[in-house]
Symmetry: C2
Subunit: 264 residues, 2 copies
């Protein structure tokens, strides 16, 4: 027999976050989804050793680099390059061999399909390449990814304003309540009235990439100083019985499906 | 003045695909979204040269490797490792230096948030790392990514059955009409009745990773033989004026918002 409940039907995202008592270890939250965890095994090559070398970076400098790079490689690769290019200058390998520009495809939520905002995906790649995956024994890369997704969802974007922006008029800020490109860009387009091909929309997304790069480096700097504390409270598999965002009703309205649940 | 239309309100995905006359170059479809394209510039290091060395791989062998790897590194990294481990054996670098296992975070649509299915994201990473980004002068990596997303959305998953599966009973097949983890897994869970932590759901996802790896290698082999023809018809920015999937009504029901459109 399976339990029938609709865990997020009458909860706002904020209520859920308040109701969740602090952050849980990422491994715990995904244990039910991911299955048996094994110790790290460098099947892909002997270079798969973590963490990669890291020195604290300046968030403002990183954000400015991401802003500039957006106009060359777009959101995902801009975030990756803003961090990795600086670390490549300091350390060389393994950053030199990482094919940063291959991640142009993250643009527009992956080739324009509006899925994960490329800035979020780029930040996740940076955090996990530097710190390593949870199967390698540490959860911080995984946790920083969760933190970035949640911070992004809650932020009035774009947070960061570059020193010399291409668009000098003030840009509207909107909160996506989601880490998805389509939702984030769509809400901003609706509030601002600017179309997808407008210079203003492009500059908004360049600033979003800069904002994410800024916060990413704040978290990585804390991790480097052994001061990092995970803050994300969204544990989808544990809370909803399925991989999910936290805003079920944004898509499902008041008819949130109930996934098959494990016997308790 | 802005145009008001609801381009996908009364169209099914299939109708839209039938109505779209063949595949367009990816560069064209994204030109409005991405802004000015520049020629490739290896800002991230001198190793950013494309294409990476490639030899035709056996789709069945690749799929079996992905199936097996799923139980170690989950969907995204399983697809990456199934291809890159074979190419590393043949060529060494640049595959040896690629941090495959860092992509464990792609699991569950990225740390369990149900966004892009990790198998799709992993396939996109493989295609774009090997072929290179569209800013490097070729569109095939971008186009193969689009093809994978569309093929995945239409496929009765899981397509591939391994020789010696962990679950020996027959698994239900479902069509996601979406490249998203949450939608793909959710529809399968509803049809099968199996919960997220069940061995059947895990084996279904391991087979999905295998299915994607299989098709990815078919496309890469065609590309290697100079026989690759892009097939994807979904051009979201061009068709809808926003980064998007093709199934607007799955989320928006009959109230599809109209994005601000460019003057014509």
């Amino acid at each position: 027999m399976e339990h029938q409940n609709k865990p997020c039907q009458s909860l706002t995202r904020r209520q859920m976050m308040i109701g969740t008592a602090g952050a849980l270890a990422a491994g715990t939250a995904l244990a039910q989804f991911g299955g048996l965890l094994k110790s790290a095994h460098a099947a892909g090559g002997s270079t798969e050793k973590w963490p990669w070398p890291y020195e604290k970076l300046d968030p403002v400098k990183t954000a400015e680099l991401a802003y500039k790079e957006w106009y060359r490689v777009f959101c995902g690769a801009a975030v990756i390059n803003s961090v990795f290019n600086q670390l490549q200058e300091k350390f060389g390998e393994p950053y030199t061999s990482f094919p940063d520009d291959a991640f142009v495809f993250l643009e527009g939520g992956m080739v324009g399909w509006g899925m994960t905002c490329g800035s979020n995906a780029g930040a996740a790649i940076v955090a996990n390449a530097i710190i390593g995956p949870r199967i390698a024994g540490g959860n911080e890369g995984h946790q920083i990814t969760e933190d970035i997704f949640e911070w992004y969802s809650d932020a009035a974007m774009p947070v960061f304003t570059p020193k010399t922006p291409k668009i000098t008029t003030e840009l509207v800020k909107t909160t996506a309540d989601s880490p998805l490109c389509h939702v984030s860009v769509g809400k901003w387009m609706k509030a601002s009235g600017f179309h997808i091909g407008s210079p203003e929309r492009k500059d908004r997304c360049a600033r979003v990439a800069a904002s994410v790069a800024y916060h990413l480096v704040e978290l990585l700097n804390d991790w480097h100083d052994k001061k990092y504390q995970p803050t994300a409270t969204h544990k989808p598999v544990k809370e909803f019985g399925i991989t999910a965002q936290m805003n079920c009703m944004d898509c499902h309205s008041d008819d949130v499906p109930t996934p098959p649940m494990a016997k308790k």
